[in-house]
């Protein structure tokens, strides 16, 4: 363990990091959109466009469907709360912040599940076919993605002998440049799950409202104004969480282990660079892939699960030794 300053400073840093995380999430979404437009030869929106969109939505008045109950109104806050909490747990700039101990990787998956559960319920609250369709598809995909994700998490957990994110990152940081096949498999699996869970191509298309193919958009069709803003913001945070997880677990270099100004500045620069690069990879992936038929998605996720399983088995058989 590195030298930990007094708890108050650590908690303050943790709070600052969480706020930074939440504030930076729309920026990452804007960056992805911008790079994508450049890559597809379209005119790109400004980098801060997502902030403008959120500000516009927060300023509007809410229109709710006639049949909406209290659950529909409460869901955006629950979803946002769950993702803020998840963001607090994920190490971004510095490892070993006290918030990281609140929840480990399994609990993190639990937070995602909590948000999804309420979002699916809210979708069914109105009583339209779209809501039910979105909820049904989302829960189907999630029920296949979640085990694949946990399997990848288990592989990481077994390599580092912990499910604590900070400790996993620290382990990978100090293990040096060892090419472990199990880590590679886990990375691939986690990336595929991330694509499915954040609703990117080829599983879902964040830019479409085509009625028969949409999943996430079908669930939030009835939301407006501040409720919609919270949900949009939450899904931007979700994208950033997955990106930060992949970046910091598999390429932990640069993350601050000590709470000094130099280390923190280095950490900030490092994570910004890593996220920007990851976003470019995502954009290339989204540009070269076509959207899948819904019933091909289980095969996609089944493959992710298989990769994660292979990663775990290679770890158990090859890397620990009998």
């Amino acid at each position: 363990m590195s030298a930990v300053p007094e708890p108050a400073v650590a908690w303050l840093l943790a709070a600052v990091q969480t706020l930074l995380f939440i504030a930076a999430a729309p920026l990452l979404a804007g960056w992805v959109k911008r790079v994508k437009c450049h890559m597809q030869n379209r005119a790109a929106p400004a980098l801060i466009q997502p902030y403008r969109d959120l500000a516009k939505l927060f300023g509007k008045d809410v229109v709710m469907a006639e049949n909406a109950s209290w659950l529909f109104r409460a869901t955006p806050y629950v979803v946002f709360g769950a993702f803020v909490l998840a963001a607090a747990v994920v190490p971004l700039v510095a490892a070993h912040l006290p918030t990281a101990a609140i929840a480990d990787m399994i609990v993190l998956v639990g937070f995602f599940a909590l948000a999804r559960f309420f979002l699916a319920l809210a979708a069914m609250d109105i009583g339209t076919a779209f809501g039910g369709m979105g909820a049904s598809r989302e829960m189907t995909i999630a029920s296949l993605a979640e085990p694949a994700m946990l399997m990848a998490v288990f592989t990481l957990a077994m390599i580092a002998a912990t499910t604590n994110l900070s400790v996993v990152i620290e382990h990978n940081l100090h293990a040096g440049l060892v090419l472990r096949p199990s880590l590679l498999f886990a990375l691939l699996a986690l990336a595929m799950v991330a694509v499915a869970e954040t609703g990117r191509i080829p599983v879902d298309n964040p830019a479409t409202h085509l009625e028969l193919t949409m999943i996430h958009e079908a669930m939030i069709l009835e939301y407006s104004a501040r409720h919609l803003a919270l949900i949009e913001w939450a899904s931007q945070i979700k994208l950033m969480i997955y990106a930060a997880l992949i970046a910091n677990i598999f390429w932990p270099w640069g993350i601050a282990e000590e709470f000094t100004v130099a280390a923190l500045a280095l950490g900030t620069v490092a994570i910004s660079a890593k996220l920007a690069l990851l976003a470019i990879v995502l954009v290339v992936w989204e540009t070269v892939m076509a959207k899948m038929r819904l019933f091909r998605v289980p095969q996609f996720l089944g493959f992710a699960f298989l990769l994660a399983l292979l990663g775990m088995l290679t770890h158990v058989i090859l890397e620990t030794g009998a």
Binding site: L85, V107, G110, F117, P147, F154, M158, T163, V316
Partner: protein, 673 residues
Amino acid sequence: MALNIAYLAVIAALASAAVALGADFRRSGLARIAMFLLLGVSGVAATVAGGWALLENLKLTEQLALGLPWLHWHLRLDALSGFFFAVVGLLLVAVSLYGPAYVRELEGGKQPLAVLGLFTGLFAAGMLLVLLADDAFAFMVAWELMSVSSYFLVTHQHQNAPNRRAGFLYLLMAHVGALAILLGFGVLAGHGGNFTFDAMRAADLPPLWASIAFALAFFGFGMKAGLVPVHAWLPEAHPVAPSHISALMSGVMLKVAIYGFIRVSYDLIGDIQWQWGLAVLIVGTLSALLGVLYTLMQNDLKRLLAYSSVENIGIVFMGLGLSMIFLGTDHPVLGVIGLIAALYHVLNHAVFKGLLFLGAGAVQYRTHERDLERMGGLIHRMPATAALFLIGCVSIAALPPFNGFVSEWLTFQTALQTPKLESGVLRAILPIAAALLALTGALAAAAFVKVYGVAFLGKARERRAGHAREVPAGMLAGMGLLAVLCLVLGILPTTVIGVLENVPRLLLGQVPPSLTAHGWLWLTPVSAEVASYSAPLVLAAIAITFFVGRVLLRRKANPVRRGAPWDCGFGPLNARMQYTAAAFAQPIRRVFGPVWKVQEQVEVTHAEAPVTLVSGIRHQLHISDWSWFKLYEPIGRLVLAGARRIGRLHSGSIRTYLMYSFATLLLLLWIVT
């Protein structure tokens, strides 16, 4: 003293049965109140006695002058039975709050309430006595009291043929299971010298006989607990009983079977072999996964809940299996964590499944429906029931910060300690089991989104659901008690585990200090480095973001306007355009196709004039359980064929019968000489 309170619990339950038998329900509501009051007293006494024994790690034994002349009833209350005693007690309290209003509806029915009250009391007393028994004879008598009285509860509304069929199947399976348990006790008693549990504990079994005793106990108790593939009676029997009885059966009776399993394998047999653990883990994983897949396909609310009990019992057995593997390979610390995970899930499942069954009863009370496809929009009509039911759904879907999550998380943590095992095969199998548990959890969330979304949200699909009213306060109180427990057990896991630790302390003699080492705020199963979870902080953080968000956004916002939902411009939507329960589960049905036996028929009738126009579509969907066709029916056919063969002996002629007697006599004489 604790033992006397335990007696009071049993006596109060019996008194409740006696009151029911003697009273005249048609004349006054007093008898109804008295009946449930006594049941409540029994519940409180059981909770107090059990909790006391668990907290203080008491070991109280006594002999009663009942039973056989040479074998008096031995009774014993220790931490293990105390824990289960408290679980039964808690549910009895909730049911006694809920019952008086609920059974009103049954008063006008064909069956007298007296029968229901009588067998409810006997059933409760039977369960409590099983937990107290300290010799095989008392155990089996109490076990039969529990099984037979619950048979009468299952067949309470016996005018419906399916109920009679379910009841018969239940009775049959209960006795096949009881036979296996009896044989298991026989093996133990054969080596121990007599039927007291003390003698069995002291006996030193050779490994082969220990394995046989274990296999018999696993089969017998597993059958009663509803493990796959011998689970088929459970979704038949549990839903047809009145709902407060379903809550007791699914919530507690299955737990009594788990108690029996733990008592026999951990306590009476003692030396646990890791191969047993592997068998338990595999069966548990299968039960969990198949249970949840069948849960997803049900459209009958109570049947769905019953299948979900199969799933949750599977999760409990996964915890037990992991614990036994670690104990068998000499990792006692991890074995203890697995056992605690299993016990925690026992408690959690009792609480949330009780809550959900009571909720289903509340819905049935007002809408007279069990079919999800006929409900909808109940959140507007029954807001309090809807809120309580939501807590049950969130808990059973294993979402933080509620209680179901904690026990599943502990099970995961146990499974992740596999690198400590020497055997490569075990190291590979355990994480796969964990991954299947993850799949189970995710599918359970899907199942309960379906339940809640179809039954409580959206618009009312039938008139009766549209006219439902909130249920009486007593019923809400019963559900409310369990809902509060769901939250408390979820956010104070460390405190709960501190209490539960006395069970492994009794059974295994040691407890790792790490579980609760970091105070009530932090749960750290192995060490703080390896994993930590702080449920209170999670709750606090969710609450803070929730309220900050609301306060910030609500301050200057205009009131919410209401408008029509998006209908694609085709005109107003109606309730029949909503997604149905079957439609919700369709993608999952397609993904996991071969798991069920699906018969689907679509008949399309075409209109007269333009043939392309469709005038009507009829869709029929039957989803059945493979275990019927692959296991039950072949065995049933085999038994019938065998009976027919033996039946040929009955020729009907007296001379043949005399010849049988004569031949038997000769044979016996020959043996004797």
